[in-house]
């Protein structure tokens, strides 16, 4: 049989076929459909329009709804949208809903999904958010879709997909302490461009990848969409399985899938991580890469640490290494991705201080878990750029207007680089503050 890549194998299995190849249009069975407050109301509208107002979802165990985008806002329309989700969950009796204002509230969907045991190797996950690709870190096929596709899935449990060819990125070596997965993925996007993986799968491989913890692997897969990638994927290993098994409280069976020897890749690139540098993506595109050394000293007005890309515990641990016993020179916003991450900020310590105490005593502002200013949002959103400021951020996009004001300038960087830059008030290489 023709050898297949991990992505091809998962798609073939879910289409009930022995084999598929790049370019094949197939219908696949969906394991999990995720939606949130921004696209959920439209998805529900599409579902009701086409399947009837009394229709039931295809499988209530496979629908996960995570309000996360516009949560801590006085915006009436935004609050109304969460009510639409609530009403749908009640009417459909959906078990996996993480409601605002309750103990179940999570925050950013892409981090909430694995934390709550909704990501498993070998599965097919669709979500109404482009960063759904984050879950490829668990060895599954995960990608973003729109309301119409999601409404179709709600009624049928199926979706047509075109099988993407796979690009392979191999990382070798032990990551130096001044680099993070964010630097690796910004390097890749800088190399191939923000359309370099359009319609393609991006598979990450090599000892440099398997040495990363699960959160760093999520950062790698999270930003494949910034290169236009359909999905990012990392083969499951012990790190993956340990995480998944500890969280898979619903006990759902799954089958890890690996790329066959001899599978064809449309592109391959090998990196030695020990030779890479801390990098930023300059305004106004994630592929506008520069070595931090080349833009060092660029004046900033604000720093932001948060989002699905840069708001996990690993990200805050890194930022706290630099901010411990320092003072930030510019407004610095800290937004944990989820309530679990927020709890970690209060419990995990460096010396005698919790991570949260490190940030607060450095002069940073700490907000409640949500997507917050990563994508601008309503004008009262925590950290939103309401003025044409320059901001360095651990988030994923810096197109014009992304974080609010359309003339704001956003530099994307790792939590280490953002923290170092917050201390100096200008873009700074984290090596200047690391022992």
């Amino acid at each position: 049989m023709t050898p297949m890549t991990l992505t091809e194998k998962i798609l073939a299995q879910h289409a009930g076929r022995d084999a598929v190849g790049p370019g094949d249009n197939i219908w696949v069975d969906v394991d999990v459909l995720m939606t949130h407050d921004v696209c959920g109301p439209g998805t529900i509208g599409v579902f009701k329009q086409h399947f009837g107002k009394d229709a039931k979802v295809w499988d209530r165990e496979k629908v996960v709804i995570v309000p996360d985008h516009y949560i801590f806002t006085a915006d009436k329309m935004a609050n109304r949208n969460v009510d639409v989700l609530r009403e749908f969950v009640r009417e459909q009796d959906l078990p996996y809903y993480y409601d605002v204002g309750t103990d179940k509230y999570k925050g950013v969907c892409h981090i909430a999904l694995p934390e709550e045991g909704h990501t498993r190797p070998g599965e097919v996950l669709f979500g109404t958010d482009s960063h759904t690709c984050t879950a490829g870190a668990f060895g599954e096929f995960a990608t973003g879709i729109g309301n119409t596709d999601a409404g179709f899935i709600l009624g049928t449990g199926k979706l047509w997909v075109k099988v993407p060819p796979t690009m392979r990125f191999v990382f070798h070596g032990q990551l130096p302490p001044y680099l993070m997965a964010k630097d690796l993925i910004l390097a890749v996007i800088g190399d191939i461009g923000c359309d370099g993986a359009t319609y393609r799968a991006m598979e990450f491989d090599g000892d440099g990848v398997y040495a990363l913890n699960i959160e760093e692997r999520m950062t790698l897969c999270n930003m494949v969409i910034e290169a236009g990638g359909k999905n990012g994927v990392i083969a499951p290993d012990k790190v993956t399985l340990d995480y998944v098994n500890a969280r898979n409280k619903h006990g759902k069976a799954y089958t890890p899938v690996h790329t066959d020897p001899g599978a064809k890749f449309i592109y391959e690139k090998v990196y030695d991580v020990t030779k890479l540098q801390p990098v930023v993506a300059k305004p106004h595109s994630p592929d506008n890469r520069a070595a931090v050394g080349d833009v060092s000293g660029t004046k900033l007005d604000r720093a932001y640490i948060g989002s699905c890309t840069g708001g996990k515990l690993t990200d805050f641990r890194a930022a706290a290494r630099i901010l411990k016993d320092k003072t930030v020179k510019i407004d610095t916003f800290v937004v944990p991705a989820t309530s679990e991450v927020a709890a970690g900020l209060k419990s995990e310590k460096i010396g005698s201080q919790t991570l949260e105490e490190v940030f607060l005593s450095a002069g940073a502002k700490v907000g409640p878990p949500s997507c917050a200013a990563c994508l601008g949002g309503p004008s009262d959103t925590f950290g939103r750029l309401n003025q044409p400021l320059s901001c360095i951020s651990t988030t994923n996009r810096n197109f014009p207007g992304r974080m609010g004001h359309k003339e704001a300038r956003v530099y994307l960087a790792s939590p280490l680089t953002v923290a170092a830059s917050a201390v100096r008030g200008a873009i700074t290489d984290p090596r200047e503050y690391l022992e």
Binding site: S130, D195, S379, K406
Partner: protein
């Protein structure tokens, strides 16, 4: 699907992402409610930096007399149109503003899927880079079946790429009518 579309062009550059097409602050409108669907037209392309809005000169407003509907019918753009988020509000905003087709070098895949599966507009691909050949305000005629574009202002004619495998979905009017027609849905 309309096979011929005639109207004024609005020209943009490369990597027009979904935040520029419809800024996130307006995603609170629910596109399933007709009065709110209309609102997306008002804010369509509102985050394109003024210097890039309406090329080659820029600083051309997308809306003139009507605050919801643009006088332009066809967007001509460069590479990677619709990159960024998965928000279906992006093709919806263009549709609500009266855009019937986009002609770009190529598309980000989620925007392309959403345009086709939702049946909002026809995403056509050009063979040569047309965003530097067409001026905002030029009168264009697209013949979708023949995959050609005629610039009525300059007299130039251009070849476009055939729609290929998505043509039947667009002809049906989106993924739901397509699936019904092909027997997937009852």
């Amino acid at each position: 699907m309309q096979t011929t579309i005639t109207g004024k062009a609005y020209v943009l550059g490369d990597n027009i992402d979904t935040d520029q097409i419809i800024p996130a602050q307006y995603l609170t409108f629910n596109p399933s409610i007709p009065e709110e669907y209309k609102q997306f037209g008002k804010y369509a392309l509102s985050s394109v930096p003024p210097s890039q809005a309406g090329l080659p000169k820029g600083h051309v407003p997308f809306h003139t007399d009507d605050e919801f509907v643009s006088p332009y019918k066809i967007v001509v753009a460069g590479k990677n149109f619709g990159c960024g988020s998965s928000r279906e509000h992006a093709p919806i905003a263009l549709d609500a503003a009266g855009i019937e087709a986009v002609v770009a070098e190529f598309y980000a895949r989620i925007f392309y899927r959403n345009s086709v599966n939702g049946g909002y507009l026809i995403p056509l691909e050009c063979v040569e880079r047309l965003c530097e050949r067409v001026c905002t305000g030029d009168e264009l005629r697209l013949d979708v079946a023949a995959h050609t574009m005629h610039n009525l202002t300059t007299g130039e004619r251009y070849e476009l790429k055939p729609l290929g495998e998505v043509a039947p979905i667009l002809e049906a009017g989106g993924i739901f009518p397509f699936a019904r027609k092909s027997g997937m849905l009852g």
